[in-house]
Symmetry: C2
Subunit: 406 residues, 2 copies
């Protein structure tokens, strides 16, 4: 297949590109490199030293003989350029990662809220409008998030996108309908993925576009079979308070002797998936496209759920790290249950990589190797969901400022 | 109250501004005048001759002694300018009409789809982000549409925004929850109002913004008590295939001796409201704000439902006009039922203005007076929902081309 990977230079995008190239597909990265610019804005860098996307593609060619094509296009802004690219290349599939993906970044200031909404909505809608206009009948695979479901529960399992409900008719009879799960996003970032769902529903219904939406859990790990093949193919690895995600952050914190930062009681239950499974799931989804006229196919792309404090305690035990309970900068329930269905990927043959000590230790090893690249002051998560929550944030979980005074 | 009316130069915006000014409020119009630009783009004009917004405000002052303030701001693009305005004026209420509001325009070409999504989403989100950032605790009243509900029915009445459903828990017990009505918009324009709903839900939940969303039916009529007060206060009145709406278009077509253009079987049932009731509803909603922390308050702003072909036949009988059944450029069900609840406005004291011959004739009189301003070639609705539907559109319901040949 000819596959366009929008956002193919990112944390899950890059290993997906390599995985699909290895599998024999003709892969085109379309990226505006905004994630590299945001590193510059925030004054942080990937823990792992990343080469330019062009250099990464060159190395891949050297190692495997396979070509990955890179096109610098901003799908959110360059509608006509993207449309021309689509007309010229007519891909069989489009994988869409091209959105700002950090909840804390999306809540940082009003400027970041506005950027996230404008960028993510325009990117998704431009892709859809261009597909209709050019008549390119590609299978669109989008990376969504488990966060669209929200985390308040009534003891029901979270289905894969569609929820059966009973509705009372005028005659008093109840009838069953399957509806898009009532969304309850918890940040501006998550909200944009809820907006995407409505865009997908409309374009599948009106234009018969074939769309798969993957509601992904929190991705952990760093290497995949392909990124391991050369030092310069290494994946991006975020440790900072905006882009670092919970499990990987605990592992990095353990590696650099930083307290494991748990927000609130740590009673939040979240869904997780290893990056190796992420790329495998995307490949499985690609092979299982809906038909024209079918509704959007939704998968829950996760393999296990864990309570945040259980993860912290497990990693503390494994590494000897200390756990610090900090005020929560997010507006969310202190504790929640989470039961998630993921039958579809299991049926397609996914063999889940669950939390095993070996893999956790591998991440700690990577983090130790590059620990000299860490700016410790960028480790705390300081973006408040409201001004009141922001004012209570602990910006110094190490107590360094205090030590300096004494 | 100090009230900002975003989009206060438009078809419902302008009479709302006058109504609230007359009621003693300090009214500020914020508008980018995009609707006047779109007239220019399409090469059409309001059937009624409209003065500039500045001139309209001057006339209102002459007639009533009251000032209406006009600020040229594009809320979708000029985020910082709007925020500065908000900081300087701190309104008690904001009425938000500032969105591209025609379904056929939103489906015209990919350019119009992209414009509608970017403009409408950015406008709404900018307003919300600016309210949070400035801490202005205004009541936000937004003009939504009945179209967010969609028109497929299972024999249940359409509630005011929230639908009670039964959901099965893991233990097999069913529990009732009230959810945001599962949206099923039928055009890119309607879809943007579905996106707005998600934005409102998030900002009410995260920031305690006080928001009312009015799901309006199709507005008909042209005069209100205030627009009648001076010839130059007259309201905009659209007859073209993009911005003209169904009932008003039938009346105009009758006035100029054009066939009444029914799309498909005319079996579509739609909700209607007279423009005089529209402005009254907005005033009622203003006086009934939700509390901080409450969920978004949703009203169905409509007073009656009618089947399109019944309206056409009624007006044909009243005026002697001919009815033409044309291919439908929209992708929609040929026939649908529609039962809508509007108890909340009735409880607040709305006394509905229903379809009465006198009011219908008033519209025909206005149309006849300005019939010389009509470009008959712009009367047909020619925007196709898909390319296939667009190709079947009848661009000449009068059969003029045919007559010219013979």
């Amino acid at each position: 297949m000819r596959i366009a990977v929008l956002g193919g230079d990112g944390f899950v995008g890059w290993p997906t590109v390599l995985h699909l190239s290895e599998a024999g597909h003709e892969v085109h990265i379309i990226d505006n490199l905004s994630r590299r610019w945001i590193d510059t804005e925030l004054g942080v860098q990937s823990l792992t030293p990343m080469d330019s996307v062009q250099e990464r593609c060159r190395i891949w060619h050297e190692v495997t003989g396979r070509r990955i094509h890179f096109h610098l296009i901003d799908v959110a802004k360059d509608y006509e350029i993207f449309k021309a690219w689509l007309t010229g290349h007519r891909p069989d599939a489009i994988i869409h990662f091209a959105e700002q993906r950090a909840a804390p970044y999306s809540m940082k200031t009003d400027r970041h809220k506005v950027y996230t909404v404008n960028n993510n909505v325009s990117a998704t809608h431009n892709v859809l409008a261009a597909m209709v206009e050019t008549g390119v009948d590609a299978h669109l695979v989008h990376l969504g998030t488990m966060g669209v479901y929200g985390y308040s529960t009534i003891g029901a399992a979270i289905p894969e996108g569609y929820l059966p409900v009973d509705i009372e008719r005028l005659d008093g009879q109840k009838v069953e309908q399957e509806i898009l799960y009532p969304t309850r996003p918890g940040s501006v970032y998550h909200m944009t993925k809820s907006l995407d769902q409505i865009l997908f529903q409309f374009y599948a219904q009106n234009d018969g576009l074939r769309i798969t939406d993957l509601h992904q859990g929190i991705v952990w790990g760093t290497h995949t079979d392909q990124t391991r093949r050369h030092a310069q193919l290494i994946n991006r690895f975020d440790y900072d308070g905006d882009y670092g995600t919970v499990l990987n952050r605990f592992l990095i914190q353990a590696a650099i002797g930083y307290p494991l930062t748990v927000h609130g009681t740590g009673g939040q239950t979240r869904a997780f998936i290893h990056v190796q499974d992420s790329v495998r799931c995307i490949e499985l989804a690609l092979g299982d496209a809906p038909a024209r006229g079918e509704r959007v196919k939704i998968f829950n792309q996760m393999t296990e759920t864990h309570r945040v404090r259980d993860l912290a305690e497990m990693i503390a035990k494994m590494t000897g790290a200390k756990v610090s309970y900090l005020p929560n900068p997010r507006k969310e329930a202190a504790e929640n249950e989470l039961i998630v269905k993921n039958d579809q990927f299991l049926e397609l043959g996914l063999n889940p990589t669950t939390l095993a000590e070996g893999l956790l230790e591998e991440v700690v090893e990577v983090a130790k190797k590059f620990a000299h690249r860490v700016d410790r002051s960028r480790v705390p998560a300081v973006s408040g969901w409201t001004k009141e929550l922001g004012a209570r944030v602990d910006r110094d979980p190490e107590g360094k400022a205090l030590r300096e005074v004494s």
